[in-house]
């Protein structure tokens, strides 16, 4: 019998809730209370997440975010700033000692990204893993990923772009040099792609989630069983949201 992991489809939530839930799963998995878990989710309202090491002031135009009703949150994972709008976001939480996860961090990015690649293949999209943490299609980025390891547990989360609005993205993110902003936008338009752009048609969130689910099942030779957050996870998530991810103290700490 195949090993069974938990599948969570938590729908669309705020940035603060989304990041709190990933951390809650990490804590509960590290204590052996929940199985390895793959989660799919989206963002309402749209939001920017920044990497653990980034500075809000350097990366985000906070006034523009307020004007457009876009939230922002600091992740517990490193990596870059991401505008989360029309995308499928996934997370996977699994013990570091699980045989499916390479000890080497870079290799484990590759392994998890392979699951995404297999999922994209289900949609007829041929992508490639581009270390450190990207997936490219025709040389353009369709997915960014970020991993942390805490309490002997791996959390990797990442995005798969369903559609992309580079102009809005750049009205929210700061660029180092305003003078080259237009050129930068053109460059990013050349370097970023989406499922809609590649296939020339819209594919719904649910269909993409189903494909990526199959990708995880194939790559890791497991069965993903639909589940729900435990009571403890919900309590922890509420606590993390309130005490950490929605606070100025956390979000502006760097």
């Amino acid at each position: 019998m195949k090993e069974q992991w938990r599948l969570l489809q938590t729908g669309f939530n705020t940035a603060f809730s989304n990041m709190a839930v990933d951390r809650a799963i990490l804590v509960e998995n590290s204590e052996g209370k929940v199985p390895p878990t793959v989660r799919f989710y989206g963002w309402i309202p749209p939001a920017i997440s920044i990497g653990y090491f980034q500075s809000v002031a350097e990366e985000i135009d906070v006034n523009a975010c307020e004007k457009l009703g876009v939230d922002y949150v600091r992740r517990i994972t490193g990596g870059g700033a991401v505008f989360h709008d029309k995308e499928l976001t996934y997370s996977i939480v699994i013990p570091e000692a699980h045989p499916a996860i390479p000890k080497n961090i870079l290799k484990s990015y590759g392994r998890i990204c392979n699951a995404l690649l297999q999922g994209l293949a289900k949609l007829g999209i041929k992508g490639t893993y581009a270390p450190i943490n990207d997936i490219l299609v025709d040389g353009k980025k369709i997915s960014g990923n970020a991993q942390t390891r805490k309490a002997n547990t791996v959390l990797q989360h990442g995005t798969i772009l369903l559609d992309v609005d580079v102009d809005t993205m750049f009205s929210l993110l700061k660029v180092p040099n305003e003078k080259i902003k237009d050129k930068l936008i053109q460059d990013v338009k050349q370097r970023v792609t989406s499922i809609q752009h590649i296939l020339g048609k819209k594919i719904g969130f649910k269909d993409v989630a189903e494909a990526i689910k199959l990708g995880f099942e194939e790559e890791f030779d497991v069965e993903l069983i639909q589940g729900v957050l435990t009571k403890e996870e919900k309590t922890l998530a509420t606590q993390f949201e309130k005490e950490c991810f929605s606070t100025t103290h956390w979000n502006h700490r760097r």
Binding site: Q54, G78, T148
Partner: protein
């Protein structure tokens, strides 16, 4: 004196350094290391910042200090290395 730099590590990530340094004795008073890199465990970046205070802004000394902090606190960097971090700090000076 306050100064900043932005440096793309070759084959790596973007480092943004902000330092406060003493022009007379050329040492770091305060430093903040930001960017889209990865470091494990993440919290050690704050340790790195604290430990780099009072370090002479000179390539060999910076590299040695950074290497020793990495070893002592078992830090794993991805997308940045001691050479890249050193270079970014040196670039803060005119």
């Amino acid at each position: 004196m306050r100064s900043q730099s932005i440096y793309k590590v070759p084959q790596g990530k973007l480092l943004k350094i902000s330092i406060e340094y003493d022009e007379k004795d050329n040492v770091i008073r305060d430093i903040r290391i930001t960017g889209d890199f990865f470091a494990y465990p993440e919290e050690t970046i704050e340790l790195m910042e604290t430990k780099l205070r009072n370090t002479l802004i000179e390539r060999a000394q910076l590299q040695e200090k950074i290497r020793s902090i990495i070893t002592e606190y078992h830090i794993q960097f991805i997308g940045v290395d001691p050479e890249g971090l050193t270079q970014a700090i040196l670039m803060c000076k005119p």
